[in-house]
């Protein structure tokens, strides 16, 4: 019998969560000295930033960005992790002494930020320097920076936990609507600079800058701490509420902000290309989100639809190796590719009428494999086999090739900026389609099928056609992205559409948060930025990447930007959830 209300009941009956978990037990003895521990943690962190971090000059010379011993003696001559730590340390001391709502929670975020930054840098120096000696003492040089800062971070976390983690404060501010819009603009501009900073942190990497991976990760750790602290203060929720209140406005501003990325530090050809690739996968991930996130149908061969779109576009593009000797305008090619992919989607979706769950996953896996093999063997001469289809012409508009650099109003824009603009618009369109579908009769039917297929049928939903619609819509969106992909990269090869790509897409959807648009975009961005940024770790790249996935899933199973429904389902922080409707659900026992 159903006892679905029991978790909710347990949750809402305890407004202040009972201290539980290992961290709470560890912190318990500190409880009387929580404030002292917090201050001490902050002080240690600051001391750590002034201490030397390595006992020698690293082999390649500079880490980060500054040569010689300066790095060890002049903390703020370099931009980088030490500055972040200093800010965290000061923040911890201030918060320990000043009472602000939710400060225990904020401090915990700050503390984790310190821990992450000091562990990452300490580990990196240890590994590169050949052992623990690199961060402790060797040849008369003493470098306890990493250890002291780590200790400080741990103390902050323990002190914060010992003092009690309060419920996240809820800001009920209502400003003048225009002031609220102004606040939103500021928030989005900050977001833009944050994105640019993440992209440029540590430079573009490669042989010229061997530490870029470490600097980037350390920046990410600091950013994580900062975001955790901001979220704990209730600020992020407030901004989200603002965005909800001025929905259209915030969408427009967000679009403008996204289009402004080429004007920031990230505005070079390299990042324009990476961003275009991210866009392709983000659009595809949103399509997959319809199938997996909304309708709950696990598709393990989804990248095939991206491939079908790409090969369709390639064959209609006028490339020398194309099967058809036509050169259609890009807009038309896109529509045709989307339709073809959509039709294949409907075909692949048809087994869903007969198989469910694991069996469906196997069928889709097989379809993905069929597609790759077919393309590899150049069946019907449509895919070029292992030669691929090279030489796909660039998209042109009024005689301007999209790969050229252009000058607008005296500002020199990087090459590839037009592709960037195009993909931003395309992703925006795909987002619009997704959210429109989600908020409709069709979208509700998909979600109902995901929740309980039999009950959905009993409510009059013809599950067969509706499920096929999910595949059709998802594949259509992937087809659009595929057409763009073909023209942007200029070459379409079956190798771009292997099983691993399907898995990565699925990971993007799950990581970002199932059923949400920002989630899919964020997931796709992470999954394609991280490998770019971690190139320095060459051999360990996939290992690190996999570890990162495992950690995110362990500590945030609902995804980075969870659907509000899924958040309720998987959140295990009871303090976050207000009791439903003010009325606790109590009756849970059900006689059979």
């Amino acid at each position: 019998m159903t006892t679905t209300t029991s978790p909710a009941g347990a949750k809402s009956n305890s407004p202040i969560p009972a201290p539980s978990g290992r961290l709470h037990r560890m912190a318990a003895p500190l409880a009387p000295h929580a404030t002292a521990a917090r201050v001490a943690g902050g002080v240690l962190t600051i001391i750590g930033t002034y201490l030397p971090w390595a006992t020698f000059v690293l082999n390649e010379g500079r880490y980060p960005e500054q040569a010689t011993l300066q790095f060890f003696t002049v903390p703020f001559g370099v931009t980088g992790f030490r500055l972040h730590l200093l800010i965290f340390g000061i923040a911890a001391i201030v918060l320990a002494l000043v009472r602000v709502p939710g400060r225990g929670r904020i401090l915990r975020g700050v503390g984790w930020g310190v821990v992450a930054v000091s562990i990452l840098n300490g580990l990196y120096i240890t590994v590169e320097g050949g052992g623990l000696g690199a961060i402790t003492a060797a040849g008369g040089a003493v470098a306890f920076g990493a250890i002291v800062a780590l200790l400080g971070g741990v103390l902050i976390v323990l002190g914060a936990t010992a003092g009690g983690i309060e419920r996240r404060p809820e800001w009920r501010w209502r400003l003048n609507p225009w002031a609220e819009r102004g606040a939103l603009v500021v928030a989005y501009l900050l977001l833009l600079f944050l994105v640019a900073a993440v992209l440029t942190a540590g430079g573009t990497g490669g042989a010229a800058n061997p530490y870029s991976g470490a600097v980037f990760l350390s920046f990410l750790g600091a950013l994580g701490g900062l975001l955790a602290a901001l979220s704990a203060s209730g600020l992020l929720n407030w901004v989200a509420a603002l965005a909800e209140r001025h929905r259209v406005f915030s969408v427009v501003v967000l679009l403008v902000v996204a289009l402004a990325l080429p004007l920031t530090a990230a505005g070079n050809e390299y990042w324009m290309t990476v961003a275009a690739n991210i866009g392709v996968y983000a659009a595809t991930a949103i399509g997959l989100n319809i199938v997996v996130g909304l309708a709950g149908l696990l598709d393990l061969g989804y990248v095939a639809f991206l491939g079908i779109g790409a090969f369709t576009a390639a064959n209609l593009s006028g490339a020398a190796a194309a099967k058809f000797d036509v050169h259609l305008p890009f807009a038309l090619v896109m529509v045709i590719s989307a339709i073809v992919a959509g039709l294949f989607g409907a075909v692949v979706g048809s087994p869903t009428l007969r198989v469910r769950g694991d069996y469906l996953a196997i069928v889709t896996l097989a379809f993905g494999e069929i597609f790759v093999r077919t393309a590899q063997n150049n069946i019907f001469g449509l895919t070029g086999g292992s030669n691929a289809i090279p030489g796909i012409p660039q998209v042109e508009l009024f005689g301007t090739r999209f790969s050229d650099r252009i000058v607008v109003g005296g500002i020199q824009l990087p090459a590839g900026v037009l592709y960037y603009v195009l993909i931003v618009l395309l992703v925006a369109l795909v987002m619009l389609v997704f959210s429109h579908l989600k908020e409709s009769r069709l979208g509700r039917a998909w979600i109902a099928i995901r929740e309980d297929e039999d009950a959905a049928r009993a409510m009059g939903i013809r599950t067969g056609p509706i499920k096929i619609m999910a595949f059709l819509c998802g594949a259509t969106l992937a087809g659009f992205a595929g057409a763009f992909f073909a023209h942007k990269t200029g070459t379409v090869s079956y190798e771009s559409f292997r099983f691993l790509e399907s898995v990565t897409l699925l990971a993007a959807v799950i990581l970002g948060g199932m059923g949400t648009v920002p989630g899919a975009v964020l997931g796709a961005s992470l999954l394609f930025v991280l490998p770019e940024k971690l190139r320095e770790f060459a051999d360990y790249r996939l290992l690190l990447f996999g570890l990162a996935l495992v950690f995110i899933m362990r500590f945030r199973p609902q995804g980075l930007v969870p659907d509000r429904h899924r958040r309720a389902e998987l959140a295990h922080d009871p303090a976050d959830e207000p009791p439903p409707g003010g009325t606790p659900a109590t009756r849970t026992e059900v006689p059979a």
Partner: protein, 293 residues
């Protein structure tokens, strides 16, 4: 509690039949779950369906709603034979609730009821994509109707709450609201008061009367015989897949066969039957777990 309720229950036998089951038989392999069950449900009538566990009550519901295809026999709504597809049956106007609540747990109460409006909404895929004025109108209509229904079952305050977080009794009521959203002519309720206390049961009784007063005919499965006898115009007793007795609550209540089916035969007889049972029809069979979809 009995007197005022029976007073509210005028004799409603003899209206036009709306749902007719004739000779419904359901065979699962060697097990005959239903054997030649026939009954008529008249317009505006409340029929109660009682019987021991495993008597085939839920199986009968599943046959009526197209979830199972009966081995033989037919089910007709207003004289028209019902298709064997739950979605189409619901479209024709037969809605149901489930014995073990089957809401969409991660959707809000409002969304659950909106899903119930699915069959009555004219909104194609293209409209879903474009969100034109016609879409907005149909969406607004559906939401208005949803709020009416939530109000009707007394759940307005939970409109934005996830179904999984509702108290148990309210989940049952939400399931009824969701079924009502399909604008049914006939509503089938599978144990609507299971797990409820006396007060909630009384609330459910009033709700079912209110539904009947909307002109919807109701079939109720329930174990609580007191509830059934004070609610229904007619009562059907199902025992081991066979329709044992059908009649007014008073007739059924007084029938010795019903007492026997419920309380079992006197102990000596059971003993004798157990030892003498050779045809496989052991009385213990009545404790078979109810079939659920």
């Amino acid at each position: 509690m009995n007197a005022p309720v029976t007073a509210e229950t005028p004799d409603r036998t003899g209206g036009r039949p709306i749902l007719a089951a004739s000779g419904v038989t359901m065979q699962f392999g060697g097990l005959r779950a239903l054997n030649d069950v026939s009954f008529d449900l008249d317009e505006g009538q409340i029929i109660g369906l009682i019987g021991p566990n495993g008597a085939g009550k839920t199986t009968l519901f599943n046959c009526l709603t197209g979830l199972y295809a009966p081995t033989s026999g037919t089910v007709a709504l207003r004289g028209e034979r019902l298709p064997q597809d739950p979605a189409l049956v619901t479209e024709k106007g037969v809605a149901r609730t489930f014995q073990n609540i089957r809401l969409f747990p991660s959707m809000t109460a409002e969304e659950n009821v909106l899903v119930g409006r699915h069959v009555r909404m004219k909104q194609g895929p293209l409209a879903s994509l474009l969100h034109g004025p016609k879409f907005k109108r149909s969406e607004a209509e559906a939401r208005e109707r949803t709020q009416e229904l939530l109000e009707f079952v007394g759940l307005s305050r939970f409109s934005d709450e996830l179904a999984r977080n509702l108290p148990y009794g309210d989940q049952r009521r939400l399931e009824i609201a969701r079924a009502l959203a399909t604008d049914p002519a006939v509503l089938l309720l599978d144990e609507p008061t299971a797990g409820m206390n006396a007060q909630e049961t009384e609330g459910t009784r009033r709700l079912i009367f209110a539904i009947r007063d909307l002109g919807i005919s109701v079939v109720v499965i329930e174990h609580d015989t007191k509830f059934i006898f004070t609610l229904c115009d007619r009562v059907l007793v199902l025992v081991q897949g066979e329709l044992l007795v059908a009649g007014s609550p008073d007739e059924v209540r007084g029938d010795p066969r019903v007492v026997e089916a419920y309380l079992g035969a006197p102990p000596e007889e059971v003993e004798a039957q157990l030892h003498g049972a050779t045809d496989g029809e052991a009385p213990g069979g009545a404790h078979r777990k109810e079939d659920t979809p």
